[in-house]
Symmetry: C2
Subunit: 200 residues, 2 copies
DNA sequence: GTCTATATAAAGATAGAC
DNA sequence: GTCTATCTTTATATAGAC
């Protein structure tokens, strides 16, 4: 059996993902992508007859799935320990290139046909938000977290926190991002309040 | 004395800000903006001879200053109470249209000349990051927050949290965003850990 | 599968009339 | 100040050769 490392399609998706991630949908041109592969831009239409939109949708769907699967594995690898699960999830997200979910939702999606945008945002919800929500909800169920905890809110907040770490400019990074993420996990769990009760 | 409410330049900036905020720099066209004012796109060059770049830079600078000044006022209005300051800052940021700082930094800025991008990002740092950092640092200095608190990290994290609230789709908003922001302020201060010490 | 060539559309920008 | 007209560039997309 021939065991190929990567298909041409995947190499194309890899290159496209890097550029779409960096510049977003509308600022990226097909020539940006094809030139990285030493191809003419017209050749991209052989692989993705639907052009830029189809390519972006394929890239984004694969990226979301990749993040979701990795999130699931990193959470499962931590067993049932809440802190470990959150640390694992944070470390995984930071090990990947930034998704910029806000730009994706607010800026890129409106440029796509509505049913495509809906499908992709639903995928983000299932693969990322729901999985993190389950982590927080499990914490509530076991009594580790307060019963009033809004697990859905915390899932979104967690993603927002990690994304903000991703966007810290390289020159301003004194500690590793993972280090900072772990500190933020501690803040979420224990709070900043040093005296634990000093604030009413 | 003639006391005009708004200058033509400001009306132009208002319209441009709405569209740039929604679609980002590269997806916005001058015709998008001029049509909202029932102008021809060529007329914009009378007010901003530098074209799209100059207009975007002016819009963004004004927007950052507006956010910074409002942030300062909302913090000062809360007196010396840390919780009140954070709540005030959060409520102010949520009362304004989203800035999408990550997209601004990662996607819009690279499309501008470097010195313009640097000036704008420096302005974000001074007007927004530093002001929030001072709030957290004051909490450390008074002993309200733990001495190991990284005030700079928390400033960025706070902005990330509020921005993530801004991007919750309207149909998914059950409680008000301000309500959720106040809950996140409580989490930052006190943590999610219900038993306060149950997690090692 | 990839190329060259080309069609088509859209956007930034300028010139000059009013 | 705003217009119409036009220039130039750039991008998506298609056609057809190899």
């Amino acid at each position: 059996m021939t065991a190929e490392m990567t298909t041409p399609r995947e190499r194309l998706l890899d290159a496209a993902e890097r550029i779409f991630s960096a510049k977003g949908f509308s600022a990226t041109t097909l020539r940006d992508i094809s030139s990285k592969l030493s191809l003419s831009h017209a050749s991209l239409y052989y692989h993705f007859p639907g052009g830029k939109e189809e390519l972006f949708a394929a890239v984004t769907e694969r990226n979301i799935m990749h993040h979701g699967v990795g999130l699931l594995h990193s959470i499962e690898a931590a067993g049932t320990d809440l802190r470990g699960q959150l640390r694992g999830a944070a470390a995984w997200l930071l090990s990947q290139s930034p998704m910029d979910l806000i730009r994706m939702a607010e800026t890129d999606m409106p440029a796509l046909p509505e049913h495509v945008a809906k499908k992709l945002m639903d995928l983000v919800y299932v693969q990322m938000i729901l999985r993190l929500r389950q982590v927080f909800q499990a914490g509530v169920d076991t009594g580790e977290l307060g019963p009033a905890t809004d697990a859905g809110l915390m899932a979104g907040a967690f993603l927002g926190l990690i994304e903000s770490l991703h966007s810290i400019p390289e020159f301003a990074v004194r500690r590793s991002r993972t280090d900072m993420a772990f500190e933020l996990v501690e803040v979420l769990l224990k709070g900043l309040d040093y005296s634990k009760g000093g604030l009413k």
